[in-house]
């Protein structure tokens, strides 16, 4: 199905010519969500999104169809997100997400604040993680995707997903421990 679509999008020879608008129509949601899985923040999302399509335009010729196009796009998103992550490290704190982006508008103010704080804490921990582990962790623990689906999307064996998830859990447990120790020290002063 996807291949049939991609045959229409790409030139018959399968080389450099690519109808980016058609790729956008088919894969925009995937790119948008994937960039968030890798931790690209709201203010950078549209620029990062465009960068992904610039890379697609430039590199589509090197795509060998050994995997689904989405797997390749996933890898492109990872590379782009890595750049934006470094940039975000420099600009940390310039943006706080809006409350109405985060939660159900029907929530009480207390719930909104609690959700906001919880997300800020989780984001800090996720930002400290390796990108590949982070993506697997987010897809499994937050989006509740089955590991087999994650493996197909990322383009790695199922065992690799399990090992990344295991490593991610260990990593985030350590980060949480550090955070709690820091909070305890501050509270003890």
């Amino acid at each position: 199905m996807e291949r049939a679509f991609d045959d229409e999008v790409l030139s018959p020879a399968g080389e450099t010519a690519v109808d980016l608008s058609a790729v956008h129509a088919e894969h925009a949601d995937f790119v948008w969500i994937t960039l968030q899985r890798f931790g690209v923040a709201r203010p950078d999302l549209e620029d990062a999104f465009q960068d992904v399509f610039i890379v697609i335009q430039r590199r589509i010729a090197s795509f060998d169809w050994a995997c689904p196009l989405t797997t390749w796009i996933f890898a492109v998103c990872r590379r782009v997100a890595s750049t934006y992550r470094r940039r975000a490290d420099r600009d940390r704190g310039r943006h706080e997400p809006l409350a109405d982006e985060l939660t159900d508008p029907g929530s009480s103010p207390e719930e909104l604040v609690a959700d906001h704080q919880a997300q800020a804490r989780l984001d800090r921990m996720l930002d400290g993680m390796d990108l590949d582990r982070r993506a697997v962790f987010v897809m499994f623990e937050i989006e509740e995707m089955p590991c087999a689906e994650i493996a197909a999307m990322v383009g790695v064996p199922l065992g690799t997903v399990y090992s990344r998830l295991h490593a991610a859990r260990k990593e985030i447990a350590k980060l949480l421990e550090k955070e709690q120790a820091f909070a305890a020290r501050r509270g003890g002063r």
Partner: protein, 245 residues
């Protein structure tokens, strides 16, 4: 092999407190209609931007070829007219003013051996877009489109103006759906059946429903589903109208 139990469902050795954080964590946010439109407009200009960059690279290559040929010609000329000195150190004896002349020489089409560079009408276009992309600056391709792609740029501009209106409507829809509806009416007047008609109708149906104008919302929703039965927004419209199976 079965998947491990998720931490937020009490699985494994979830550290204390983390299960709660995970339960509160929002899913990655879906694209709004306006974001979809804006990104579509920007993506539509990517090939032009890269084309301009390629043309610039080709142009620079042409200059390098001209300069190289110029230096070679001058070296040959020098060798021809100063054979004895050339045997020892030809380049050291090359007159400085000739070298400067080579540096300052404009690219002469007659000498260029890559005709596609000369004949490419996009070649002299300043590489504004490509440079911006290379530097990783925030994008503003809509303002830097090459002159020879005026028609697509106009389309993109229209799309951006449409998207801007819809973004305005979307941003205020929960606070003031009536005001959003006025913005959407302005879109309908200004663009009619524009490129974002489906997005506009979705927002309008939502705004009507939020105001409790259920009958109007249903009528407009029915029209939407009749006109765009396969739209990605069809399910959303059904949900708003409460008719989702």
């Amino acid at each position: 092999m079965s998947d491990p139990v998720r931490w937020k469902q009490g699985g494994g050795d979830a550290p204390r407190g983390l299960d709660d954080l995970l339960r509160r964590a929002p899913l990655p946010r879906a694209m709004s209609a306006a974001e979809r439109a804006r990104t579509a407009a920007r993506v539509a200009q990517v090939p032009a931007a890269l084309g301009s960059g390629i043309a610039w690279a080709a142009w620079m290559k042409g200059i390098a070829v001209v300069a190289g040929l110029g230096v070679a010609s001058l070296a040959a000329y020098s060798l021809d007219h100063d054979r004895h000195a050339a045997i020892v150190a030809p380049l050291q004896r090359l007159p400085a003013d000739r070298l400067r002349a080579v540096d300052l020489a404009p690219p002469i089409p007659a000498v260029v051996t890559t005709p596609e560079v000369v004949n490419d009408p996009a070649a002299p276009t300043p590489p504004v877009i490509a440079t911006a992309i290379a530097r990783g600056q925030p994008r503003s391709l809509g303002h830097a489109a090459p002159l020879d792609s005026a028609a697509p740029a106009t389309d993109a501009d229209t799309l951006l103006r449409e998207a801007e209106l819809l973004e305005k409507a979307r941003a205020g829809i929960s606070r003031d759906p009536a005001a959003s509806l006025r913005v959407l009416d302005a879109h309908r007047e200004g663009f009619g059946d524009g490129q974002l008609t489906a997005e506009r109708e979705l927002l309008a149906i939502d705004a009507l429903a939020r105001q409790g104008r259920t009958a109007e919302a249903r009528a407009r929703g029915g029209a939407f589903l009749a006109r765009f039965p396969k739209s990605p927004y069809a399910d959303q419209v059904r949900r708003i109208l409460g008719t989702n199976p």
